[in-house]
Symmetry: C2
Subunit: 250 residues, 2 copies
């Protein structure tokens, strides 16, 4: 267990080797063992293996090739549709078309996704979480026929690794952990916490390639830019509304 967690690396190159049904079933079952709000299981996992569909999903994921190369793409969705239908068929009056339940269902979906990721890795598979899912949710909804009450919140590609990357750096533990209550960060704290990351050879190369002074500027100017943040933020809220999750909000 711990070895799997501490060995995790994101895999960006995959073999085309398919995943046996029995292994796939085991990792999906692992997803269902994660904690879930009131045992309501308000999530769904959409497993896409069809080549044409994966090509469509690849387009939504800013054409990052692992989505076409890996044999399996799993889309984790916040889903109150199934639960609400059950209520209706059982003479109960569901009221889950609001932001609280969008977020509740997202928590369920994300805990399940991390179990699936780890169970895949424990089986010798590699995984990659695809960031663009929440940027391109509307297109994914179209491709996967997601009904009202369902929003994709995370995508995993899964397959046999065709590379062996090293571990990625992380901030020291004191950078992300607070004891008792939150202690806000002074300039000195920030300098100390980010020192190791900023001193990496990899960081120096990035600065040269991108012609930037600081690593932070690569985040703000290149990777996660103001205009994109504004655009995709509005889009995401709009998708949540369109999928029927703002029934109690203006």
């Amino acid at each position: 267990m711990l070895e799997t967690i501490f060995k995790h690396r994101t895999i960006r190159k995959y073999k085309s080797t398919p995943i046996d049904d029995s292994i796939l079933e085991e990792i999906l079952k692992a997803g269902t063992r994660a904690s879930t709000t009131g045992n309501a299981q308000v999530y769904s996992m959409v497993v896409t293996r069809d080549k044409e569909l994966r090509k469509k999903l690849w387009e939504t994921q800013f054409k990052q090739d692992m989505v076409r190369e890996a044999p399996v793409v799993i889309t984790f969705c916040a889903d109150v549709n199934r639960f609400s239908k059950w209520c209706i068929h059982r003479n109960a009056d569901p009221h889950y078309h609001n932001f609280l339940w969008f977020f509740t269902a997202s928590i369920d979906a994300l805990l399940a996704s991390q179990n699936v990721a780890l169970a895949a890795e424990a089986n010798g598979l590699g995984i990659c979480y695809m960031g663009p899912t929440i940027y391109m949710a509307r297109k994914i909804i179209d491709i996967l026929n997601l009904p009202k009450g369902v929003v994709p919140v995370a995508t995993l590609v899964v397959g046999y690794p065709d590379e062996e990357p090293g571990l990625t750096d992380r901030l020291p533990l004191e950078g992300v952990v607070h004891y008792e209550t939150y202690k806000d960060y002074t300039k000195e704290d920030i300098d100390r916490i980010y020192a190791e990351k900023e001193a990496l050879e990899e960081t120096k190369e990035l600065l040269l390639i991108n012609e930037k002074e600081t690593l932070a500027q690569i985040f703000t100017d290149n990777r996660y830019k103001k205009d994109d943040n504004i655009h995709f933020s509005k889009e995401l809220l709009q998708v949540i509304r369109e999928q029927g999750f703002m029934g109690d909000e203006k």
Copy 2:
């Protein structure tokens, strides 16, 4: 790994035995190995062991006793505060005070939380995710001194189990998995998927105790009621706004 995942049960009764610092550190480090958006690590983990603070947190968690009994409470927060401060001190212009980044940071926090939960269980500890965190976020923000840019999204209590519950039931895999695209549920699908859960002895007892016709009614009338959903949904959105995460939205 797989054994830990498949053996997971929520623990509601704890011994007062403290957790060794070295074990606590290992499970927190396990949290940091989870995937994180662009390796930005936009989350924080607040570890609360102080008895008085845990009592205050217990009050926010609808006074569920495990929060006072277990020796450690970990609050997982969406956090763009540290990352934004780093940008500012590095001559970069952060723009992460919007809904997109609230959700991005929530994903980071939740993936980390599931790694912590599993690493705890692999060390013989028990865990319980506390549902009320997103209902009572404002009070938790006060207790833990969370600054702007930080919202609690999940709480784990962690400690040595003082009970040995069996596995909780789950829907059959076909109930939560779709192949290729989403297939919406017919009445027959719902009947089949929920049959096992509805036939459980435990369900029959719940119906008797609650004087209800169907299990779904226990969810809609007792556990997750319309008025509460409306109230807490507005509260949660308001807290997200107050913490500065709706800078680009009206």
